[in-house]
């Protein structure tokens, strides 16, 4: 009973306390107890995988338990672990297959039968495991073919449970490496499901069809009539699944019919979740396969008006981006835009129509950007319409701001307009401050038409604006401010930290000289209390930077005043221009308000009541067009590229846009601080590809390295001392750099002979760093022209990443740009990028970046890229693996301080670990921890020891160790809750290794 409860409601903090007890229960003589113990461990695994890592071999024992129930329970754990990484468990495939064979063959006790089917739950669990193991792996899959065939054959009885097994089996067959014989049988099975009169089975068949459709479009052709019937099925779930199926077979030829079907369903559907989902799919299909402009615009109009404000913000953003970026053909673009403008004008024609806010925002943006393309409409008419919209009560203030921006854009292209004057008049005393501000801006802009035209160039929404992000033109202002005794600006992270360190009772950082200098630079403001001293260290690190950032907040206020009265700083203007773009793309409020479908969007209904069958035949032919003639997968759904009309122009543009989507209100807040920190965030889309690319690169080059290595060994004997050290390094490859095993790669044997002249190409640390503890220099990546090397230097207050860029060419490389991407767990002090003005031929340049760990993780990846110009723009991606231990430093303190701090900390984690024979004394264990984990031993008293360390910049973690009967009891405390867990894991690891 207790075990049942353990697996149902168990808090993660208590796991270490009961873990040993449960481990004991694994040996219990009663199988029910063993089974529940396994189940409890499974729950622990789900809650905190780190803590049960060391008992994996016990899971294996459970898998081989003589009681099938215990074995079945252990399968849950395996399914989960294999889901996370299948590669580690391939060796178990044989066992799983053997078990399944026995189960299917009815070798289990009769107890496990369910309606005379042997252990169906067990079978399904095994099938799922096999599916994961066999995915994309021909060799492992081969082991399974026979048993899969057997289960298909055995599951012949006409009962629900056998259908459940069958469908699971079919899914496995289609997921693993294909075998034609099995595929054929599986296809027959699906056919049986689809044609079944039972609605549950029919639904399952459709679901199966949906996921096999990529591999076997012909199957859908065979069942096309059934699919058509299902489209008009009264049960919504069947209908939805059918649409899902159609969504996957959409191509350029059938898109119109399919999207129409989806829109029909959308109109009936009331459930929020379903609407969001479907709207996203329609928009995707429309973008990909639109046959012509009119259809595309009308479909998108329908999406916006039916989807209302539920649509995901991506949809309007993508749509506007498509319009703005255009496609390859400029004329086509303009036609599309003109059509869009015209259709929106027609929609706005109706006075009492209610449109969703997002739709109105899209309309107003398009009108603002492109209304001048339509020559036969007087801008005055548009302005009047917008004006009347501004007065409507259902329009939210966010939308009004969009409309206001539109008015401003149109006004910049007309000489003088009565409507504009009226708007200015009306909103100059509006209660809404945003609106009032816009009205004033507009008023002042109207006085200077020339400037207004420069500020709001036509169709420039996707051209890059040059913005002086560092606001260097304000440096003078800042210097003046500092001179008058203003405090220097502190970046956000620094302020936070200061706050933290003030809250804390104790400060362990020694006083630093650098603090004095930063005080003097900031004048005698005395804002920093003595408790804030620890901040001094990093103020010194980036004091130049800080002054810089200070500028941003202080000065904008000043600028804004200038702005209204006497003319503008031109640079500031370009910034303002940029600010206006973002708001056109920003959408954040969700409000209600559904709108009826505009009449212009109506298509002719395809199906009519009479001659039903004939209609269906016709529908089938339209739906499956392109499938029959050309069954190749390449024509199917997503793989199709040829007809993909609306292609994204370039990745770079995409990034810029995502960056631009920032809340416009920020501009009013005059806080440009954050802008300094923005940089392209392309982690999501490039990371995956980057990894694979890297892996490929290292794979292909590792062979070469090995060759080279073999051939180099004898040579190294007569090499200079330096060379010898290098080859030593190569042999003792540190495990830290598991993903970049290539050390220094010498271009050619001939180059090696003249080692003297080549030394500059081999990077080395400058003297001042050489003295600090540091890792070996490893190569990150290389191209024909460049090679990148990395060295981690573990300084006292941060991790210093030193990146060497060596120019292998015989020409000077100019403007080499190194950029680190923003990472979830890490923070790069100062800016994430670095530009080498020039790298001389065959020489090495170096850049240094200080890194902190922001969010705790045992290991994380920091990626980045190098751009350089050589004939063409080339980009080289790399990634650096950083582990928690890179950021842990010993912490010096007295026993007394330790005692005080210990009592003030609340997050604690306790765990007992077994000590191996090599370190059965306390001192041996402590030494291991000190050497491997950089912990500082504060004191040792009898069989107890206390240790301290800190996570940079200054999060302490205290450890109390006690030995008793060959067990080491570890007790961690830290102000940060995640730190003890991670450290505990590291401790377990090093103790097991030693």
């Amino acid at each position: 009973m207790a075990l049942t409860i353990v697996s149902q409601i168990f808090p993660r903090e208590m796991i270490p306390a009961v873990l040993p007890l449960i481990e004991d229960k694994l040996q219990h003589s009663k199988e029910i107890i063993r089974r529940k113990a396994v189940q409890a461990l499974y729950k622990f695994y789900l809650i905190a995988p780190n803590q049960v890592q060391h008992i994996h071999d016990k899971f294996r024992k459970a898998l081989c338990d003589r009681d099938a129930g215990v074995m079945a329970a252990s399968l849950h754990i395996y399914l989960q672990m294999i889901k996370e990484s299948s590669s580690g468990y391939k060796d178990l495939t044989g066992s799983f297959v053997a078990i399944l064979k026995q189960v299917v063959g009815g070798k289990l006790p009769i107890d496990f039968n369910y309606h005379s089917v042997p252990a169906p739950w067990l079978q399904i669990q095994l099938l799922r495991i096999l599916r994961l193991l066999g995915k994309d792996d021909p060799r492992t899959s081969e082991l399974m073919y026979e048993v899969l065939d057997e289960s298909l054959r055995r599951a012949e009885i006409n009962h629900n449970i056998t259908y459940a097994i069958l469908s699971e089996c079919v899914q496995t067959i289609y997921t693993i490496y294909p075998n034609s014989e099995l595929l054929e049988k599986a296809a027959k099975c699906i056919g049986k499901f689809v044609l079944s009169p039972k609605i549950n089975l029919k639904y399952l068949g459709l679901k199966a069809l949906t996921y096999v459709i990529h591999q076997d479009p012909n199957l859908a052709l065979q069942h096309q009539m059934t699919i058509i019937e299902c489209l008009d099925h009264p049960d919504p779930i069947v209908k939805r699944e059918t649409l899902e199926l159609l969504y996957r077979i959409t191509n350029g030829q059938n898109v119109i019919v399919i999207v129409q079907k989806m829109l029909d369903y959308l109109k009936e559907s009331k459930e929020e979740y379903a609407i969001i989902n479907l709207v996203g799919k329609i928009a995707e299909l429309a973008e990909k396969y639109a046959p012509n402009n009119e259809w595309f615009i009308q479909t998108m109009n329908a999406v916006f008006s039916v989807g209302g404000d539920l649509v995901h913000t991506d949809i309007p953003n993508n749509f506007l981006r498509l319009l703005a970026e255009g496609f390859d053909d400029g004329k086509e673009d303009d036609k599309l835009r003109v059509y869009a403008v015209k259709s929106y004008l027609a929609l706005l024609e109706e006075d009492d129509a209610l449109y969703p806010q997002k739709f109105l925002q899209v309309m107003s943006w398009v009108l603002g950007e492109y209304s001048s393309l339509v020559t036969d409409v007087d801008p005055e008419v548009i302005l009047t319409k917008l004006h009347s919209l501004l007065r409507k009560t259902f329009v939210t203030s966010e939308t009004k701001v969009w409309i206001m921006a539109t008015v401003t854009k149109i006004a910049s292209r007309t000489s003088c307009s009565k409507a504009v004057d009226e708007i200015i008049q009306e909103f100059s005393n509006s209660l809404d401050t945003c609106m009032r501000q816009y009205a004033f801006e507009l008023k002042n802009l109207c006085k200077d038409k020339e400037l207004m035209k420069n500020l709001l160039p036509f169709d420039a929404s996707c051209s890059d604006m040059v913005v002086d992000a560092s606001l260097s033109f304000l440096d003078g202002f800042v210097a003046e401010g500092l001179g008058r005794g203003a405090a220097p600006y502190k970046p956000h992270h620094q302020r936070q930290e200061e706050k933290l360190s003030q809250e804390k009772a104790l400060n362990f950082e020694p006083y630093r000289l650098s603090f004095a200098s930063s005080v003097s630079s900031s004048g005698i403001t005395g804002r920093q209390s003595p408790t804030g001293l620890s901040v001094g260290s990093d103020t010194s690190v980036n004091s130049a930077e800080t002054g810089h950032k200070e500028t941003s907040t202080l000065k904008l206020e000043g600028v804004r005043k200038l702005w209204g009265k006497e003319g503008y700083l031109p640079k500031k203007e370009s910034k303002e221009g940029k600010e206006k773009e973002p708001q056109t793309a920003s959408c954040s409020t969700l409000s209600t308000g559904q709108v009826g479908d505009p009449p212009a969007l109506r298509f002719d209904q395809v199906a009519s009541i009479s001659e039903e069958d004939k209609e269906k035949q016709q529908l089938a032919s339209t739906l499956f067009i392109g499938l029959g003639s050309n069954a190749g997968v390449s024509l199917m759904g997503k793989a199709e590229t040829a007809t993909q009309k609306f292609k994204r122009r370039s990745k770079i543009n995409e990034i810029q846009h995502s960056e631009e989507v920032s809340d416009f209100r920020n501009s009013a807040a005059a806080d440009f601080g954050p802008l300094l920190d923005t940089r392209p965030i392309n982690m999501e889309d490039s990371e995956g590809s980057l990894h694979t690319r890297l892996r490929k690169a290292s794979l292909s080059s590792s062979d070469i390295v090995e060759d080279n290595l073999a051939f180099e060994m004898p040579q190294s004997l007569r090499k200079s001392g330096l060379e010898e050290r290098l080859s030593e390094n190569r042999l003792s490859q540190s495990s830290l750099f598991a993903d970049s095993n290539i050390e220094i790669f010498q271009p050619s044997p001939s180059a090696q002979c003249e080692s003297a002249s080549k030394t500059p190409l081999i990077p080395s640390l400058p003297e001042e760093l050489e003295e600090l503890t540091h890792s070996e220099i490893v190569q990150l990546c290389q191209s024909d022209a460049l090679a990148l090397y990395l060295c981690k230097v573990w300084t006292d207050d941060s991790l210093l990443l030193t990146v060497f860029v060596s120019n292998k060419t015989t020409a000077v490389l100019n403007a080499v740009n190194l950029v680190f991407e923003e990472a979830e767990h890490f923070q790069i002090l100062e800016s994430p990028s670095y530009q080498f003005p020039a790298i001389e031929a065959e020489s090495v340049e170096r850049c240094q970046k200080y890194v902190w760990m922001d969010k705790i993780c045992t290991q994380g990846v920091l990626s980045g890229s190098v751009n350089y110009q050589l004939e063409m723009e080339t980009r080289l991606d790399f990634s650096v693996t950083l582990s928690l231990m890179d950021f842990i430093r010993p912490m010096q303190m007295t026993t007394e301080d330790f005692g005080k701090l210990w009592l003030s900390l609340s997050n604690d984690v306790k765990q007992n670990i077994k000590m191996s024979s090599s370190q059965d004394t306390l001192s041996a264990a402590l030494n291991t921890l000190q050497q491997k984990l950089k912990l500082h031993i504060v004191d040792v008293i009898g069989n107890e020891g206390i240790l301290a360390c800190q996570l940079l910049p200054s999060v302490p973690c205290l450890l109390h160790c006690r030995t008793h009967s060959r067990m080491l009891a570890l007790w961690f405390r830290s102000p940060c809750s995640a730190l003890p867990d991670s450290l505990l894991y590291q401790c377990q690891k090093v103790m097991e290794e030693s």
């Binding site: 029910i32 789900l46 809650i47 496990f112 169906p120 739950w121 629900n160 469908s167 699971e168 919504p236």
Partner: protein, 161 residues
């Protein structure tokens, strides 16, 4: 919450044709208010469904699998990629277990012995995963724990709702 995504069955509800909740079991953590809202919503959805439709309903990002036994609806919430038929059989096996334990189970049995119904469910499903599929051993485990329980009568006389 990670557990939320990992459990195979998110929750099980038993309710009568009149919409009265008879038994609820949650394998995900939710605040009480949220639970009540969900229950109200689901009972309404399922009771309004036609007899001829399938036993599956899309609900938010989950799928509801339900079956009616006499006047009681048994309803499970599972994830989209889970096997619906298998879930139906889970429900069926639970009903069989109840039937075996009570001997021809009826709604009143569950009303008056709700704690037994929960015990059986716990024996059968742990943390959202099917555990004990053998009828005999599941019922035996419950009977064993009954022996330990001294004052059964006290519970028997207490009305459930």
């Amino acid at each position: 919450s990670t557990i939320c995504q990992l459990a195979e069955i998110h929750f099980i509800l038993l309710f009568s044709r009149q919409g009265k909740l008879r038994l609820q079991k949650w394998y995900t953590t939710l605040p009480d208010k949220e639970k009540k809202k969900i229950i109200r919503e689901i009972v309404q959805i399922i009771l309004s469904r036609n007899q001829k439709t399938s036993s599956f309903v899309d609900w938010k990002d989950l799928k509801l699998v339900y079956k009616r036994y006499a006047s009681l609806y048994f309803c499970c919430a599972i994830e989209d990629q889970d096997n619906e038929l298998l879930t139906l059989e889970v429900v069926h096996r639970y009903v069989e277990l109840l039937d075996r334990y009570f001997g021809n189970v009826c709604e009143l049995d569950i009303i008056f012995n709700f704690e037994k119904a929960y015990f059986i469910l716990d024996e059968f499903i742990i943390g959202g995963e099917v555990q004990e599929t053998s009828k005999r051993s599941a019922v035996k485990a419950i009977e064993d724990s009954d022996m330990l329980q001294e004052t059964v009568e006290e519970y028997m006389n207490k009305p459930a709702f």
